[in-house]
Symmetry: D3
Subunit: 135 residues, 6 copies
């Protein structure tokens, strides 16, 4: 079994805000991440799949096709958009890095035929990233 990782990138706006809380509670927990007019990030997304190497191709998966799937199903829906307002699969979900990584997993796992999704790694800044390996 070999693990193959493809990186894609997207630029999005978001804010962290719990609508069932008071403004003060949001500010206390989320700080400036709760600012009302949003801020944003250059997200880096690392999708890792695992599988056996096909002796005909030398591939676990065709990484260019994998890139196309990630771009079509994930990046085009997130890139240059607002994670709180514009993304159907993030509706009613606080767009933390953790929640976004889990939502990407849920969205992506249906589109992988010949290999298995192993990890969604989402880098928010050079100092913060999350990894999700499914449940």
């Amino acid at each position: 079994m070999v693990y193959l990782t493809r990186r894609e990138r997207f630029n999005a706006a978001h804010r962290l805000y719990n609508h069932t809380w008071s403004e003060a509670q949001n500010r206390a927990v989320f700080g400036k991440c709760a600012n009302p007019n949003f801020h944003g990030h250059n997200y880096e997304l690392f999708i890792t799949v695992k599988g056996n190497v096909d002796p005909e191709t030398g591939f676990v998966v065709n990484v260019h096709l994998l890139g196309e799937i990630i771009k079509r199903e994930i990046v085009e829906k997130l890139d240059h958009n607002n994670l709180n307002l514009d993304v159907d699969f993030m509706k009613d979900i606080i767009p933390s890095t953790e929640n976004l990584a889990k939502a990407i997993w849920k969205k992506l796992e249906n589109f992988l035929d010949d290999c298995e999704l192993h990890c969604v790694k989402l880098v928010e800044t050079e100092n913060i990233f999350v990894e999700y390996f499914g449940d």
Copy 2:
């Protein structure tokens, strides 16, 4: 003369939009950068100053004080904010990387006493950056 560069970072939302144009014209020129609900970036800011080396300290400028000035005058006003809505010195300016770099120069040059501002370099993504050296 020695050139010293200090890097700072900020995360902000923005959109590119000319309010004197039609929606169609904005879309034609700015593409998805004009999306109404904003997107965002992890901006990297490199401030370069130049000067002679003080023989008492070995410094062109105390880089920690320089960092404090950049943080106080620039980063705190931009970080986790919306460049179209929240930043006084970007009011009525299209927040392109070019315009933001020029505005940062204009704001910062007044706060440097012992050295001279040489360059404002602003990195928007890993593929795009601008440099401004003053007029």
Copy 3:
């Protein structure tokens, strides 16, 4: 379960030296890393914690609080110090990257309440890093 990683950095001096060995043996094993007047590194520290995502916040842990803990308990004790001479929790320990990563784990695990420490990754140079996952 989601894994969240926070990066912090510190700059420290050290040398590799076993005081029970002769000078020649130290030189044979550690080479120039045994130089008597020390050398140093820009260390990068990646702390990974794991836990369930709190539905109220979207967080495994508040990454800014995690950063504060790492800075207070680890970085402030190591940064701009000498790992052989200045750090109480490295007393009588050869300050190899391996030993330092283990000591950081031991020190840090007591301060994490809502999540579990998963990995201490310590990068010494762009070509060398270690990872410790506990015993």
Copy 4:
């Protein structure tokens, strides 16, 4: 148990081509990676070993000796060579990143005495890497 990783680099030419297929089939599967006159990459190789820390040295393994082994057994055979034509241990193997990582594992595991090979990570571009942990 501690995991230690050493990075080495090599620059090589290759093409992806299955000699049992037609030209058209190669083109359909491998695209421009099948171009007849080769292309190339700056490969980054991360070798991770695991073991207990020797109390005399603080080392899992002497990372400089590990580097020497990787350079002698792997890098010198791949660097500035053609993976399709010049490398004995890649003979009759399609030089995909997956196959190269597996071949490096097979070649390297015999040369590690005091520690265990844990992972061969091979980075082909900033967007693509594979990891192999043995069978």
Copy 5:
């Protein structure tokens, strides 16, 4: 005047070889870079243009159009090709990083209408790059 830089990337094979020299002389000067079956690199190309900022757009140049031009005129001709054999504008030129940067300048300068080409920076490895500013 503002300077704007766009990064593009390509992967290519090459060898350094002077056909008017003996094999021994090529080997003496170029070392393993003269290996007959080629090696290769992940090249990074930074194209810097300069100009005034258009008050209507905030742009020196539309960076996405600039990217399209670089991709169409340069990257598509170099990427996944062999610099010695496949590239019309490198015919009879030793494909050193220096010569390639100059050839890219010559090819690109004709396609920039609204701004001026300032610098072609070509990164061959993490340790070597060249910059060309025209004659």
Copy 6:
């Protein structure tokens, strides 16, 4: 004229301290950089030379020979040493990044025959670097 840059690296200890000042004054100006037992850095050194391209080789300078010169004259004298105690050409000089860059220039310019030294860039941390272009 083409500019060629070679990167080398070294790891060194240092402290910032002016022996003609009181302890309090050193602490006031240099802060924790004055700590008595030293700290250290992974320095990155970028040496840029300029010259015409030799039509026989395609080179401004043989970058491998340039690397050898930098390693022999600079890196071997700084690497794994203490900039305050071990380096002859830094004797009685406060080892700030500025002063070290100037000293490297002075030392290196005598060893370049076929090209001209253009810039010494010295990176102390990911947030701080200096550039010196001679007097």
